[in-house]
């Protein structure tokens, strides 16, 4: 090979390396950007008058007089739409049977769509479930519902080889020649006057409890559950981990037993997280019976086992990084070994130990599999501090899974799911970032 080719290969190699780093950065962006962007819409969105009604009725928040004025204003616009429905009903009752049957189903769909858009008609029965008590609280959702009102979704099966394609048919075409035709352009044009959208910052998303299994309201019970579980895990794992690290670095003598312990540590670090869940179920709940069934305590213990190896490892590294001279200086002044560890080495290693602790805290907060069988429930309100010993809790990580995969209206509440993911990612990344900053400070300090 001549030099030109060698140089070309060399440069391509460099490009390949930089390319893969860039791709990794892109991966992070590709995952984070939609989460951040969509997650923010859980807090900041164009809220409709329905949103304000909900806030007032459920949480007594907002200006009552102003709200009443808005309700009157929007009802005035809505009543015309309702009047059109009434008019059509009258019209339909005068049609012959066959025609009635033809319109019956279509009309029911229109009514349902309008109800989904604006909420139950004033004066009618008040529904049981909160989700049916209100119209669309978010303008972006309202626009989707408007589309559903205006167009009917149908499937095209014409190509037998490919999957059926969806297409949309205007509903107003189906009511050609009746009085209902006027309804569609009316709603389309006046929707903003019916719903009165305003830019809203809904901080309650973080601090409120959920209403009607997350269709409305906030995610505080999940956030609190995550905090309880993560801190609970730290309470067990941190002291144990630091003490074990002290033993490994200061007391352990090289030998078979010590290497066995070290192997155990790395084995524990490699155990799949779902197996921790199984172990937590079999040991803490079924054998030790720390609680009757799932509980925060059992979940914290399981998470503690999972993060223990990380804490031990980082604490070991931090202790080993303490300069030898500190140790010698302290011992030289006549202090005992234990004294030296407690008063000199641990304080010097503390920032490093904390860094590992903070990262582990983030890991405990983000992990799902270990708490599925031991601590997490899908619905529930925030639990008190006294309940941690015997009651399970909702938690961000588990509820993200639950809402996205198992919730009956999963695709309706994407904004809540995104909001939860953003909350979880923010907690975890903030913890990690503080660890990174902490570490940068330490290395600066060590450099002098």
């Amino acid at each position: 090979m001549n030099l030109g080719t060698r140089k070309l290969l060399d440069r391509s190699f460099t490009a390949l390396g930089i390319g893969s780093i860039v791709i990794m950065g892109m991966m992070l962006l590709v995952v984070l950007v939609p989460i951040v962007f969509n997650g923010v819409t859980a807090n900041v969105f164009r809220g409709t008058v329905e949103h304000r009604k909900l806030l007032y009725n459920e949480f007594r928040r907002g200006d009552k007089a102003e709200l009443q004025r808005e309700i009157v204003e929007s009802d005035a616009v809505r009543s015309k739409a309702y009047a059109m429905l009434d008019q059509f009903e009258v019209e339909m009752s005068s049609m012959d049977e066959a025609k009635q049957a033809e319109y019956q189903d279509k009309y029911r769909q229109v009514k349902e769509s309008l109800k989904a858009l604006l909420g139950p008609r004033p004066g009618g029965d008040i529904p049981e479930l909160t989700r049916y008590k209100y119209g669309q609280t978010r303008w972006s959702k309202a626009e989707e519902k408007l589309h559903e009102l205006l167009y009917e979704k149908q499937w095209d099966y014409s190509n037998p080889d490919a999957e059926a394609k969806e297409y949309f048919v205007s509903r107003s075409a189906g009511f050609q020649g009746t009085s209902l035709v006027k309804l569609f352009p009316y709603v389309e044009e006046n929707l903003d006057r019916m719903l009165l959208p305003e830019w809203t910052i809904y901080w309650g998303f973080i601090t409120d409890s959920s209403i009607d299994s997350h269709i409305f309201g906030g995610i505080w019970p999940e956030i609190q559950g995550t905090i309880f579980l993560a801190i609970g895990a730290m309470l067990f794992a941190f002291p144990l981990g630091v003490i074990a690290a002290v033993y490994f670095t200061e007391y352990a003598r090289e030998g078979f037993f010590n290497s066995l312990l070290r192997s155990a540590n790395s084995t524990l670090a490699g155990v799949p997280s779902i197996v921790f869940g199984l172990f937590g179920l079999a040991f803490f709940i079924n054998t030790l019976k720390v609680s009757e069934s799932k509980s925060v305590l059992a979940g914290s213990l399981t998470l503690a086992i999972m993060i223990l190896p990380t804490i031990i490892r980082s604490a070991e590294e931090a202790i080993l990084a303490v300069p030898k001279t500190y140790r010698e200086a302290s011992l030289g002044l006549g202090s005992t070994k234990w004294n030296t560890i407690v008063t000199v080495i641990l304080p010097a290693a503390l920032p490093g130990i904390l860094t590992g602790g903070v990262i582990s805290l983030g890991r405990a907060a983000g992990e799902t599999a270990p708490i599925i069988f031991t601590a997490a429930v899908s619905v529930g309100s925030a639990i008190g501090l006294a309940d941690v010993f015997n009651s399970p809790t909702p938690a961000l990580s588990w509820n993200i899974y639950n809402l996205a995969s198992e919730h009956e209206a999963a695709s309706e509440i994407r904004h809540v799911q995104y909001g939860m993911v953003l909350a979880l990612v923010t907690i975890v990344l903030l913890l990690n970032m503080s660890a990174i900053i902490l570490r940068a400070r330490i290395s600066k300090k060590l450099k002098g």
Binding site: M1, N2, L3, R6, K7
Partner: protein, 287 residues
């Protein structure tokens, strides 16, 4: 630096020459080497910086072709930095840059169109610590030639044997060329590194304290090797052992805090140093 302690003993009295320093052997013909010869490497106002710090300050020197030049000086004086800059090994250190000119065969080493790969092929280097690759002895020596396009087995075998013979290692390892080079002793490893460098047929051989990690016996072998290579290659050797410098070199450069204090024929520098600082150093007043 225990070797400098010996250097104190060999402190030459003013006026007297080699007689008072019997433990240094200077071959008589070496004293004749003085002027004449072609400059192979020449530095003009050549400075090396690590970031803001000027590690080597405005060096002006001509290194003569086919002679052995030793570079001495206290640690941190920039002697290694200077040596490593000749085949641009300093490029690997971040924030390292140079000013002034360093010419090799009349070409600018740091010129815009200089290819450091070709340059390093012509200017080989042996490091302080023996650094054989974790491969067989044969593959270690053949590594360089293979890089530069030699694939033929017979040719490679010839090169390996020739290089090992030149490095005086052939007799010791000819029967185990396929064994891992890390199994050799430290001295053998270092000679292997010399052989590895010779295999790419360089014009200049840079030796960066090649014996500092070796025992006296292995050191003697490396020094013998330098003697044998003398005349075929331009050799530059960094050493903190002044006896070694006086034993193996024709010329000596003395660096102090990045400044080239004195550059003279070895015999002259060790017996009649022109500079007070040089005298202080070789007489062991500081190290």
């Amino acid at each position: 630096m225990e070797l400098t302690a010996e250097a104190i003993e060999m402190k030459p009295d003013t006026g007297s020459t080699q007689k008072s320093v019997p433990d240094i052997y200077l071959p008589p013909e070496r004293n004749k080497v003085a002027d004449g010869g072609v400059p192979h490497v020449s530095a003009k106002n050549f400075s090396i910086y690590y970031g803001e710090f000027e590690a080597v300050k405005k060096v002006n020197a001509d290194i003569l072709s086919k002679y052995v030049t030793a570079i001495i000086g206290p640690s941190g004086c920039g002697k290694s930095t200077f040596l490593r800059s000749i085949n641009r090994m300093n490029d690997l250190i971040p924030n390292c840059h140079t000013t002034g000119a360093l010419m090799f065969d009349g070409e600018d080493v740091y010129g815009r169109f200089t290819d450091e790969v070709l340059l390093r092929k012509k200017i080989g280097m042996v490091f302080q610590k023996p650094n054989p690759f974790p491969k067989s002895i044969f593959d270690n020596i053949a590594y360089g030639p293979r890089l530069h396009g030699i694939r033929d087995k017979k040719t490679l075998e010839g090169i390996v044997e020739k290089s090992l013979r030149k490095a005086a290692l052939w007799d010791e390892v000819s029967d185990r060329l396929d064994k891992n080079a890390l199994g050799l002793s430290g001295g053998q490893q270092q000679r292997l590194c010399v052989a590895r460098t010779l295999a790419v047929e360089p014009e200049i051989l840079l030796l960066d304290e090649p014996t500092s990690a070796l025992d006296p016996k292995a050191t003697a072998k490396i020094e013998d090797l330098i003697q044998e290579l003398r005349g075929s290659y331009t050799i530059m050797i960094v050493t903190h052992n002044m006896q070694q410098a006086s034993r193996v070199s024709d010329y000596t450069m003395f660096f102090y805090e990045g400044i080239l204090v004195e550059h003279a024929p070895t015999a002259q520098l060790f017996t009649k140093p022109k500079d007070k600082m040089t005298e202080d150093y070789i007489t062991g007043r500081f190290s």
